[in-house]
Every structure is written in C-alpha cells, then in structure tokens.
C-alpha cells in the first residue's frame, strides 16, 4: 500500500521558511557520518550545527543516526567457551600439520 508523503501544507510556516534550505539539508545529510565522527573542520562543523539548530528534521535525522552508531558500538557478540577454544586450537594445529 503506497503511503502518501506527509503533507507539508499543515506545517506551512516551517515548510515555507525552510523550502529554500532543502538543498542544504541534502548536502548536510551526506556529511553526517563525518560530522558524528568529528572529522570535519571547525568551520564546517559550526555550519552544520547552525543548520541543525534551525532544522528540526535534520536534527532528528542526526539523533537517529547517532543512536544507530551507538547501538552498533554496544551490540553484543557471542563468545567461545573454553572447551570450544581448545577444540578449535587442536583442529587448527592438526590441519596445519596435515597439509
């Protein structure tokens, strides 16, 4: 089922003041990982911060991207048991001496 994009008509004041900035939003979205990772120059960071302060939807985009990265950083991974670790070591050494 196709969803219609949210109408901008209901948000006229914000949409109107923001329309000329649309290209700016897209430009900033391309830089957001570098922004999050603190890889941009001081000046560019300042510009982006300024834009985010004035553009709630870009601000929300950054929040969700930051959360995505934070979840990745904290995501757990399974660990080997000591038995598995020892068994794997044996298998590797056996294979190494066979070939």
């Amino acid at each position: 089922m196709a969803r219609r994009p949210i109408s901008t008509r209901r948000r006229l004041p914000a949409a109107k003041s923001h329309r000329h900035e649309a290209g700016r939003c897209l430009h900033i979205l391309r830089e957001l990982s570098a922004f999050i990772d603190d890889e941009l120059s001081h000046d560019i960071c300042g510009e982006i911060r300024q834009h985010l302060g004035a553009c709630p939807r870009c601000e929300e985009f950054v929040v969700s991207l930051r959360q995505t990265v934070a979840l990745c950083r904290k995501s757990p991974a399974p660990a080997l048991s000591s038995i598995e670790r020892a068994k794997m070591r044996e298998q590797i050494l056996t294979a190494a001496h066979m070939r």
Partner: protein, 209 residues
Amino acid sequence: MAASRQPHSSASRTAPPQKAADTFDTLYRNHVDVMYRYANRLCGETEAAKDLVQETFLNAYRGFKNFRGDAQFSTWLYTIASRICLRMRRRRKGAPERELSLDEFIPTSDGEFRLQIPIEGLSPEAALHNKQLRKALDAAVGKLPKKYKMALVLRDMEGLSAKEAGAVMGLNERAVKSRLHRARLFVRRELSARGLAEDTASHRHEPIT
C-alpha cells in the same frame, strides 16, 4: 599473502616445531576471542564463524614468516579473516554484490527524515536488552552487502580507525568513510520503527522513490 611460496623442504627446517607452536599459541590465545567476535559479526551465525576463525588461524600459522612487524597482529589477522570471508561468501552465493547508492537514502518526505530508532529514551546498552531490537540490529547488519558490512563492523563494532579499517580492506580512508556512511544509513532505515514494522509484516522493504 605469499604463504603458497613456501619451499618444499621438511617441516622441521621450515618451522622449528617448538618455537612455531609457542608463537602460534601466544597468537591464538591473545586474539582468538576478538577474531571469533569479528567472524560472528561478519557471518551472522556461529558455525560459519568458527570455520572462518579456523581458516584465519591456519593461514596465519602458515604465513607467519610473511608477517611484517609494521602492522599489529590484530590488523594482520583482521586482514586474513576479511579476505577469507570474501572468498567464502563468493563461493557460496553467485549473486553479485549490490552497490548502495547514497541517493537511495536521501529522504524524500518529512516522514523519512523523522524515522525513529525504537529505543524510547534508553541508553544503547539498556535498549539492547530488548531481544527484538537486538535481532533487528543483527538482521539489518546481516542484510548489508558485504563490503559495506565490513566497513561498519570494523569501524563501529570492532572500533578500528578509518585508517586501520582501510589497511584491512585494502582501501583508502575516503573509501572506508564513504562505505561506512552508506552502511549506517542503511542500518538506520532498517532499524527505524518503519523498518521494524515492515519487517514483521512482510519481510520486504519499499524502495524509496
């Protein structure tokens, strides 16, 4: 890796048994857990991850004399594991890898800008206690084409710098950053409330047009 160029001399001449075994044991002890974690993140399941770890250390054992001290052991092992992973997966599936275009992640509606990650004000650690979210994250990473997945796993999960990830993947930093950005945008979209709802409902995603 030039492991295959080993001369056909007796094993005792090419590798003094006790010394090689000791070196291997140290290498294995210090790095097997990290490699297993990495392998799990790349493969998404434990049996394939174990195969990958075994192959990695087997290659390291054989290629040990090719190790140059200018890299860290861990970087060297990540490199070996990544190459094997690319080969393994290529053998398993013939399908060509999809490129992720930046354009497909550019929001075209207010709703797409405002996709929310369903963590409801929790810290990432607390949010990850939710099994559904953990599964959604694993599934999102699992769906990434492997070259993007590798960039994301190395940078955002294993904590390597862009330079180190580049050394592992044989790329310059710029290319790593570009892949990382696309991978993050992909995972963000998958993880968002819309992504979770769609996944449960139909296992497919509407393309953003």
